[in-house]
C-alpha cells in the first residue's frame, strides 16, 4: 500500500493528534491545537476531554470551532463554567493533563514569546497579542505540547520576551519557580519533533518528518541544534487520519481557523 500524499502541515497536525492520550483532559487553543484535538477524538482517542478557556468542559463539537468561544462548544459541553472558574478550579490545581501552546518565538528550553518582537517592551518592533492563558497553561498542565513551524525567526537563541516558561535556563528551574506541571514534553514542527534531553532539558531533535532531513532542521533553528544520534522518522499519516483531518478542515471552509 503506497502512502497517500500529505503536506508538512498535515503531518504536524497529525503528529500533535497522536500525542494525545485517550481519556486525557486537554486544554485546547483555537487553530492547530483544536484541529489536532478534534482529530484525535475522532481517531484513537474517543474519550479525550476537550477544554477551552472560554469555559467549556468536555466539548464534543460536531465541526471545528471557529473561535475559542464558538457556540458549538457550549452546545456540546458537559458543563459551561465561568472564565474565573476555568482558570482557578480546573487549570491551576493541575487537573488538566495536556496543554497546547504555540508562539512567535521558542528557545532551546521551550520557553515561549507571544508578546513583543524587536525593540523593547515599551517600543516594540512588532506588538503581538500577548499572554492570554499561556503562562498558566505552561505552568500548570500536566504536560505541554508546543506546535510551531520551524524557522530561524521563530526558533531563536534568545527570546525577546518570556511570556511562558518551558524549562527556564536549565533542568531544575521549573521546580525552583514552583511550576507544578512537567513542562513541554514535545515540540511538534513541520520538520520533526524535538524533546527535552533527560539530563539537561535542552530541546533535542528526536524525530524527523517523513522526507525532512537533519540538515533542514539545523538550518531552521537559530541555535546549534542537538540531534539524537539516530532520530526516528515519524510514521506517515494513515489514510484514516488524512481523511478525517480533511473532513474536519472542510467544515470550516470559508471561516477563519
Amino acid at each position: 500500500m503506497s502512502s497517500p500524499e500529505f503536506t508538512a502541515d498535515e503531518m504536524m497536525t497529525i503528529g500533535a493528534a497522536r500525542s494525545l492520550r485517550d481519556g486525557a483532559a486537554c486544554f485546547v487553543g483555537i487553530g492547530l491545537p483544536s484541529t489536532a484535538a478534534n482529530l484525535a477524538r475522532r481517531t484513537h482517542a474517543p474519550n479525550l476531554v476537550l477544554i477551552y478557556e472560554s469555559g467549556t468542559l468536555g466539548a464534543k463539537p460536531g465541526r471545528l470551532p471557529l473561535s475559542i468561544g464558538d457556540g458549538v462548544l457550549a452546545d456540546t459541553a458537559d458543563s459551561v463554567i465561568s472564565v474565573p472558574e476555568i482558570f482557578n478550579y480546573w487549570l491551576q490545581p493541575g487537573r488538566i493533563d495536556t496543554g497546547f501552546l504555540g508562539g512567535a518565538q521558542v528557545d532551546r528550553f521551550g520557553n515561549i514569546n507571544t508578546t513583543v518582537i524587536g525593540g523593547d517592551y515599551a517600543n516594540p518592533k512588532v506588538r503581538l497579542p500577548g499572554a492570554g492563558g499561556a503562562p498558566e497553561i505552561a505552568a500548570s498542565c500536566g504536560e505541554v505540547l508546543i506546535v510551531m513551524r520551524m524557522s530561524p525567526r521563530s526558533f531563536v537563541e534568545k527570546l525577546d520576551f518570556i511570556t511562558s516558561v518551558g524549562y527556564g535556563t536549565a533542568k531544575g528551574d521549573r521546580e525552583a519557580l514552583g511550576l507544578r506541571g512537567r513542562g513541554p514534553v514535545k515540540v511538534i514542527t513541520d520538520l520533526g519533533v524535538l524533546e527535552p534531553d533527560a539530563d539537561t532539558c535542552e530541546l533535542t531533535l528526536t524525530q524527523l518528518s517523513p522526507g525532512a532531513t537533519v540538515e533542514q532542521a539545523r538550518e531552521a533553528v537559530g541555535w546549534p541544534l542537538k540531534v539524537l544520534d539516530e532520530p526516528t522518522v515519524q510514521q506517515t499519516p494513515t489514510e484514516t487520519e488524512l481523511k478525517v483531518l480533511r473532513e474536519l478542515k472542510a467544515t470550516i471552509a470559508g471561516g477563519t481557523e
Binding site: I30, G31, E53, S54, G55, T56, L66, S67, I68, G69, D70, G71, L73, A74, D75, S79, V80, S82, V83, P84, F87, N88, L91, Q92, T115, Y121, N123, P124, K125, V126, R127, L128, P129, G130, A131, G132, G133, A134, P135, E136, A139, S140, F161, I162, T163, S164, V165, G168, D173, L177, G178, L179, R180, G254, G255, T256, E257
Partner: protein, 273 residues
C-alpha cells in the same frame, strides 16, 4: 431596580471622559453597539479594560477614545493582529496608549477580586515570565501557613462595566446563557453597569447554564437587538466570521479606518456592526 434606557442615553449618563470602562465578552456576546456609541459620543482618555480586546477595542483605540488598555490578549481571534492597537502602541497613533498587561488567569482573578470586594487576589501565575517586570500590578505574596510564594494582583473595579446579554425583564434583571466568560464579575466589580440585551421580555424563563444578574445590581439596561454583531448571541444569531477577516483589511490602513469611522459610526445613527 435597573433603569431601562436608550443606548445613547445610557452611554451619555454612565460613561464619562477619563473613566475606567470594561466592555467584556469572551468571543460570545461582545457589547459592540455600546462600544460604537462610546465612539459616537467622542469619549476620551478612557482606561479600557478587557481580557480579550478584539475588534471593538481596536475601533475604540483607533478612534482615540483610550488613554490606557488593561488586558491579557489583544488580537483579532482566528485572524491575527489588531492593527489600530499596534499602531497606537508602536506609533502613538492617534494618541499614545499606555498598557497594563496580564495573563488571562491574572485578569480573571482581578475581576473576581473586584466582584468580591477584596483589594487583591492570589494565584499561581507569572512565575518565571517577564510580565511582572513591566507592571507594578503583579507582586509576590507569601502564604502565612506554608510559606509558599504566590502571585498577587490588585482587584479591578471599573467605573463602568458594560456587557451584552440575551434577555432582561422589565425590572431590569438580566439572563444570559452559553459562554458567559467573566461578565458576571464585570458587572459586580463595577461602580456602575450597563447591560445591552437582545430583547426585553415579560419573564425570564430559567435555562440550563444561564447566569442571572438581578435588577438590584444592574444600573441600566438598554434593548439593542443585534448589539453583539459581528460576534454572536446564542439563540439569536451566529458569529459573522467573514467580518472579522474584513476587519483585518479595514484596520490595517489609517485612511480606510477613518473612512469606516465616518460612515459606520459617526454617519450612522446606530451602527449595523
Amino acid at each position: 431596580m435597573a433603569r431601562i434606557l436608550q443606548l445613547d442615553e445610557a452611554i451619555a449618563e454612565l460613561v464619562h471622559d477619563g473613566d475606567a470602562v470594561a466592555l467584556e465578552g469572551f468571543t460570545h456576546l461582545i457589547p459592540v453597539a455600546a462600544g460604537h456609541e462610546i465612539i459616537r459620543q467622542r469619549r476620551k482618555d478612557l482606561t479600557l479594560i478587557r481580557m480579550t480586546p478584539d475588534i471593538v477595542y481596536d475601533q475604540l483605540i483607533g478612534a482615540g477614545c483610550a488613554r490606557k488598555l488593561i488586558f491579557s490578549w489583544g488580537g483579532n481571534p482566528g485572524v491575527g493582529s489588531l492593527h489600530r492597537f499596534r499602531d497606537a502602541i508602536q506609533n502613538s497613533w492617534p494618541v499614545p496608549l499606555e498598557i497594563e498587561e496580564h495573563s488571562h488567569a491574572g485578569m480573571a482573578n482581578r475581576y473576581a477580586a473586584g466582584a468580591s470586594g477584596l483589594p487583591f487576589a492570589v494565584l499561581r501565575g507569572y512565575a518565571g515570565t517577564d510580565l511582572p517586570e513591566q507592571t507594578d500590578t503583579i507582586k509576590t505574596i507569601e502564604c502565612p501557613f506554608t510559606g509558599e510564594r504566590l502571585a498577587a494582583v490588585p482587584a479591578v473595579n471599573p467605573d463602568v462595566g458594560i456587557i451584552h446579554a440575551q434577555q432582561a425583564d422589565r425590572a431590569g434583571s438580566v439572563q444570559m446563557w452559553g459562554i458567559t466568560g467573566v461578565q458576571k464579575e464585570t458587572v459586580l466589580a463595577s461602580a456602575r453597569s450597563l447591560v445591552t440585551v437582545e430583547e426585553i421580555v415579560d419573564e425570564l424563563t430559567p435555562r440550563p447554564g444561564a447566569v442571572v444578574l438581578p435588577q438590584w445590581v444592574v444600573t441600566a439596561v438598554a434593548e439593542v437587538p443585534g448589539g453583539a454583531v459581528p460576534s454572536y448571541a446564542q439563540g439569536y444569531y451566529e458569529r459573522d466570521n467573514a467580518y472579522y477577516q474584513q476587519w483585518d483589511l479595514i484596520g490595517r490602513d489609517r485612511e480606510q479606518f477613518e473612512s469606516w469611522l465616518e460612515t459606520e459610526v459617526f454617519g450612522a445613527e446606530r451602527s449595523t456592526r
